[in-house]
């Protein structure tokens, strides 16, 4: 009986701890993010700087560790027809591939956000103002997932479609290289 009591207390403790430290991966935050998430100003699209590089704190995108956000990003990727230029699984078509390690305008979340929001020369439309901020961040997280930048346990599984490339959760992480425009 005593052991059962200890066991019960242990389970309760874990439960309370869990309620406090609930898993970020499984949060579903339906409402708009706070304005602080809109970090478009000061985004550098080149890795060249005059003099010493100013240290930028490693920022994570708001949905980088949120499976729901990445899943929504995947849904939006096909809903907004990104696949038409970037390929169904990010393999590239007339637009550059998104599942490889080459990033023209930078692989950091802020840089990806700026790319989607501002548009880029030679064909990337500017979605700022056409998409709500929350959805752009979800797309950012999904773009990161396509090249294996998010944890495998957070990345989405396969589509309920014909099998193209490996699903994002089985994608090997591609270490980003900033290539610049060619």
């Amino acid at each position: 009986m005593r052991c059962a009591a200890i066991g019960r207390r242990a389970v309760l403790a874990v439960a309370l701890l869990g309620a406090v430290a609930a898993c970020e991966r499984e949060d579903r935050r339906f409402k708009e993010l706070p304005a602080a998430a809109n970090r478009e100003t000061g985004v550098r699209v080149s890795s060249l700087e005059p003099g010493m590089a100013q240290q930028q704190a490693e920022v994570k995108s708001p949905y980088q560790e949120n499976a729901w956000g990445i899943g929504e990003g995947k849904r939006l990727y096909s809903a907004y027809n990104c696949a038409a230029c970037h390929g169904v699984n990010g393999g590239g078509a007339i637009g550059p591939p998104l599942m490889d390690d080459k990033w023209i305008y930078g692989a950091k979340p802020d840089q990806i956000y700026a790319t989607i929001s501002q548009g880029r020369p030679d064909g990337m439309p500017s979605f700022g103002g056409h998409l709500p901020t929350q959805q752009i961040w979800q797309l950012v997280a999904y773009v990161q997932a396509m090249s294996g930048q998010v944890k495998a346990t957070t990345a989405p599984g396969r589509n309920d479609d014909q099998m193209g490339a490996l699903p994002e959760s089985r994608q090997n992480p591609q270490v980003p290289i900033q290539t610049g425009h060619r």
Binding site: F30, K31, E32, Y80, G129, L131, P132, Q135
Partner: protein, 313 residues
């Protein structure tokens, strides 16, 4: 109770047949329950008496056999009626039925009226008009997960399974407005995936169909024009379609004739000015988790958009 979505208030031939089956089964089952409950109570009463006379086993066996035989007869009768009703449900199939394609999405209904001539097809969402007294054939598809199409006053339900086409036949025999609801758990907002079916006189139906074939009404006042601009330039056009404008999205309900519908958000709220304003401002407050994000319009833009959308009859 308002009986807008009721199994036992049929308004169509199929639901009426099922309703008849229901009442037959109900009365027979009630009789069976009463008989068994009575037998149990009598048995308990009899068993409690001290000097109960023992019945010979043969007699008990005979009684049990009689009871079992009566049960079997009742069950076979119910089975028979069930099969007969099931077969009768297939008699609506006619070649001149009205064909409507319904595609289930999380969490709204895409409705397309078929027509061999492409220009005569009608696309709408969450609200279906049908003529009274004519067989309707629904072709049912799903874009994502399993849903279920159910209008209780008119017919039983059938699932919308991705990768399959399921067919549902029904006919409305009484004009009226009926409510249907998704009946297969499909995620966060399964509870608010309803649809409205308006059964009307054939003439009224043809008028409605013709009106819905037309492209969106042109804006008249400057505010309506401004509203149209906001719709085309802002987030709305990314998902919604308004035929005749630059809003050509296909992933959300068609808004070409939004003002003629009676509900918003797949039956979540009535389609009235205040509700529409609330929906556009923050759809997540009304239907949390649904696919429409807050578009982030300023209050001027909102008023303009409202003015424009309310012209889209």
């Amino acid at each position: 109770m308002v009986h807008l979505q009721s199994v036992i208030h049929p308004a169509g031939i199929e639901a009426a047949r099922i309703g008849d089956l229901w009442w037959t089964m109900f009365w027979i089952c009630t009789a069976v329950w009463c008989a068994v409950a009575l037998a149990a109570m009598v048995a308990i009463g009899r068993g409690r008496r001290a000097a109960a006379v023992d019945l010979p086993d043969r007699q008990i066996s005979r009684n049990v056999a009689i009871a079992a035989s009566v049960s079997i007869v009742a069950l076979v009768a119910l089975l028979f009626q069930s099969v007969v009703t099931g077969r009768a449900l297939n008699t609506l199939r006619t070649p001149d039925a009205l064909r409507i394609d319904v595609t289930g999405n999380q969490w709204w209904w895409d409705v397309q009226y078929e027509n061999p001539v492409a220009g005569l097809r009608v696309t709408t969402a969450n609200e279906i008009h049908i003529p009274v007294g004519r067989p309707i054939a629904f072709n049912l598809f799903s874009n994502d997960v399993i849903h279920s199409f159910w209008i209780p006053n008119l017919q039983g339900k059938i699932d919308l399974v991705p990768g399959r086409r399921n067919e549902l036949w029904l006919q409305a025999d009484k004009a009226g407005v009926y409510r249907g609801q998704c009946a297969e758990y499909c995620g966060l907002q399964h509870a608010k995936m309803a649809l409205v079916v308006v059964a009307e006189a054939p003439d009224d139906f043809e008028r409605w169909l013709a009106a819905n074939r037309a492209p969106a009404a042109a804006p008249v006042t400057p505010e309506q024009q401004r509203g149209k601009d906001v719709v085309e330039k802002g987030p709305c056009a990314m998902c919604h379609n308004i035929t005749g404008t630059l809003a050509g999205g296909r992933t959300a309900p068609d808004l070409t004739h939004i003002a003629s519908r009676s509900t918003l958000g797949a039956g979540a709220i009535p389609n009235m000015h205040g509700y529409l304003a609330g929906w556009i401002t923050d759809p997540q407050a009304i239907k949390p988790g649904n696919r429409m994000p807050p578009p982030g319009l300023s209050s001027d833009e909102l008023q303009a958009v409202l003015a424009y959308l309310e012209t889209l009859k």
